[in-house]
Subunit: 271 residues, 2 copies
């Protein structure tokens, strides 16, 4: 799977990309491997290029976030249409979704009067052949486009809307793909050992535990080391996954102690 | 400029990509435009592909973060070497930097004995023609490679090390490129107006203020709207920048009030 995030606010460092992390974590937990995350600005050609390049790598899924709203700089669907060489067209199902939201708001007195302005209609202009996904908490529908073995899913950038559409519709699509695969991860912490001393011990443990992926993350400085050691695996069931991780932790802990290091199950609070 | 972030921890959603935001913000403030941020895993081919594709777009700068350390999965320099069709070679200047760090640690009693293990020497194996950048707070040097009009700069993934090398060496390289250009940004907040009603007002204001970029970010839900309106510009001096933003704020505030909305200078605390 690939993730494409759209928004100038990400490229100027105004906004921290929590959407990418949330999507990556949820998809990983469902057993999906994410190969690349790309962030581009609110520019039709930049979006189209990123989508076209991702499609060429033939991932099973591409999820985009951002750029589905009513403003002039919400350009994701235009970019996707350009990448796919399709036209944007008024999608009747999407228009009904958008219209019903504003009728509801007007009825509840949240807006003065019901009116389908061009900016509101814009949210229902989807690439040809697209399927709108209802937005449980906002106005802009999500969009699903199946093309050449890739399911391309466009989600809004507002975190609550993105999460809501993902949980309601996208999670099931991913789960169907991976079946019953489980991702399991945990961390241990090492003190009194430098990352460069730890490195060969991780090599040995990974060699002896071929399904376990281990990565060290220094938290303290190299000369006053406190190192997080993150272990993860993907398996058919959670017992197998936990057994594998447990075995690797025992072996690695012994190797670290042999070198004079200390192993802890919790992070030092003062780091 | 483009940013390439390397690390499986980013692709599984374990780590929030604060490095990308920090770099994007610092570079933007120095007047540099970031066009794309790419995240890939600890895989030589994935890194090489991301670097090669970025080079083809001919940015003035590419900054990578992550993957310079002593462990087996620190593969950024191998990926860069592959993208550039250069070999990795022991860089004597880099080796001296790494050696001096470990000698210092041994002298201070922070490690048992000074020893240049293969994992430590690895941090000094740079692509041919590369220039090491001293790491003020860690062991792995940064790396600068000039190629075909692009300065490719590799920084560590540990935030304190990345920031330290950036501030010490990279900031000056970027500032030299942009001269005296200043980036200025501010936000105002609107209540009682939906984003879809605000959209045409932003269009008008941006049309009348061509150097000001305005983007709305809904914070509340669309039916109970609290909207951040972010205004930014880049100018030769900060007075020009502030005058431009001020003029746009006055015009947009009037338009919002005409539609029954309220404009605030601070964010609602309860959202």
């Amino acid at each position: 799977m690939e993730i494409i995030c759209v928004g100038n606010e990400l490229l100027i460092g105004k906004t921290l990309n929590t959407n990418a992390q949330w999507l990556a974590k949820r998809a990983t937990t469902l057993g999906i491997t994410i190969k690349r995350i790309t962030t581009v600005g609110d520019d039709v050609d930049e979006i189209a290029n990123a989508v076209r390049e991702a499609l060429e790598r033939k991932p099973r899924f591409i999820i985009t976030t951002g750029g589905l709203g009513p403003t002039f700089d919400d350009k994701t669907l235009e970019g996707i249409a350009k990448a796919l060489n399709r036209r944007l067209e008024l999608n009747e199902k999407a228009l009904k979704m958008v219209r019903e939201k504003y009728e509801e708001y007007a009825k509840a007195g949240k807006i003065d009067a019901f009116e389908m302005t061009p900016h509101r209609v814009k949210m229902a202009r989807l690439p040809e052949g697209a399927e709108p996904l209802p937005n449980p908490v906002g106005t802009a529908p999500g969009v699903l486009i199946k093309t050449n073995g890739t399911d391309l899913i466009a989600l809004p950038g507002v975190p609550s809307e993105m999460k809501s559409i993902f949980d309601e519709y996208v999670a099931a699509m991913l789960r169907k793909e991976t079946g019953e695969i489980t991702f399991f991860e945990t961390s241990i912490y090492a003190d009194n050992i430098m990352e460069s001393t730890l490195a060969p011990l991780i090599d040995i443990t990974m060699h002896d535990n071929p399904y376990v992926y281990i990565k060290s993350h220094p938290i303290g400085a190299e000369e006053k080391p406190h190192i997080e050691i993150h272990l993860s695996t993907t398996a058919k069931d959670s017992k197998t996954a936990k057994d594998r991780i447990g075995k690797a932790i025992i072996q690695l802990s012994e190797l670290i102690r042999d070198k004079g290091g200390k192993v802890k199950l919790l992070k030092n609070e003062n780091n």
